[in-house]
């Protein structure tokens, strides 16, 4: 799965946690989940759980802490999928 494919799937994971759906339209690798998408920080846990299930991977605590921007998320997901 290339980065674009991961991003397309990641967007679907983010939908239920993003109140303002329009923000998802302008998503790029630089997008910050909390600052740009206004996601509640408590929901990062749920996003990680959903991502684990979607990509059939396990995201450890250290990796999860890196998932701040979309780029970080894709990096972690790609790394775990190739592990």
């Amino acid at each position: 799965m290339d980065r674009q494919a991961i991003l397309d799937e990641l967007k679907k994971v983010l939908v239920p946690y993003t109140e303002n759906k329009e923000l998802l339209g302008g998503i790029t690798e630089d997008t910050d989940l909390l600052k740009d998408l206004k996601i509640n920080s408590a929901n990062l846990v749920d996003i990680i759980i959903d991502a684990e299930s979607k990509y059939n991977i396990e995201i450890d605590f250290d990796s999860a802490e890196k998932m701040i921007t979309v780029r970080n998320c894709i990096d972690v997901i790609a790394e775990k999928m190739n592990a």
Binding site: P16, Y17, T18, E19, N40, A42, N43, V45, D46, I49
Partner: protein, 425 residues
Amino acid sequence: MSRRVVVTGVGVLSPNGIGVPAFLHALQNGVSGIRFIPKYEELKFNCQVAGIPQFDWEDLRNYLPEVTFHGLRSIGIGYGVKAALDAWTDAGYTIGNDKTLWDTGCVFGSSVADTDVIRNAIERVDAKESKKLGSRVVEQIMGSGITAYVAGRLGFGNRTISNSAACATGTQAIVMGYEYIRNGAAKRMLTGSSEYVDQYVFGAFDSMRILSRKFNEQPQQSSRPMSSSACGFVPGSGAAALMLEDMEYALERNATIYAEIVGGATNSGGQRCGGTMTAPNPAGVIQCIQTALAEGKVDPGAIDLISGHLTATAADRLEIRNWSTALGRTGEDFPMINSLKSMIGHCLSAAGSIEAVAAVLQLKHDFVHPNTNLEDPDPEIVRIAGADHLPVTMIKKEINTVAKANFGFGDVNTCLIFSKFNQHG
């Protein structure tokens, strides 16, 4: 100086009607909300009927932000949020502001947190999958779940309290909100209660052999308060809320006023002198009713209607005796009395708030709702209350003052006195 407290909005999710128009119609026409539950037959319960609101879960999308709705699983919280927000909008307010309302609070009760949500947590943890529980479980199993959702949605900054007093929870929440406003601590209090009886709580009651079991094939006849054929109560689920306001605050904004709360009391019989975990000490009940009356300086003779607790157990007879002693009224002199449980069963913590909404509607629209399934009233009850005061069809009648009481496990009592609002009264 104590403040006067009025009801400016109501919300209701009852087994026999959701929303005020449907609930009012059901009250006036004796519509039953009790149904046969196939799952309860499968589980070998003695009682296989229950009062369940016909609630469309998707309707909550109209009340909660999508992100909040997405992870909501607790049916009890869902019921409570709808009832509370309906009362808020019924009072003329809108949902969705970014300010903290420091003069406004909430007292909302329930008897148990949602055991379906708790069961999910137990199953995950036992399967060594606790990491999959996510961020939304704690807020839905905490006892203050409903209050947290409601206060957060509306921005309440005053007292936000979650109470629990078994079957007296609903009326107790209203009493507490009333006291805060009366004492000047808050201008507005959103009060109420919510109950979702899942199969685990239901099973525990069933095992006590206090549930109705002889009418599983005639669900609508299964709840029979005050009748000779009463054989136990029928559990129900639902929620209701009352928006309470300081009278002057309400008048200033030209609010529609349903009723005034002129007195309220909550106490315990201490589980002494006949009182136990499950039975009330008559002295406690009588003192509670008389305290509520005295607070409002209400003459016991002025009570037009008693909205009883009356669950359809052997305790109905004792309750009637207690009312008679507390009011000093018997036979011809006894007020009209009814039990909403004949139509919807016993909604446990939600009983008090749903019945309080029924009391307020009977005041506002001048009627007494029927006692369904009371073709064969208990002779002792007839002797004390008088046959004419146990209506089996709706009675149109001027109603100025209603006494509403509930009694709960733990020997807890609550009583509220509602009056028609008269600014110069």
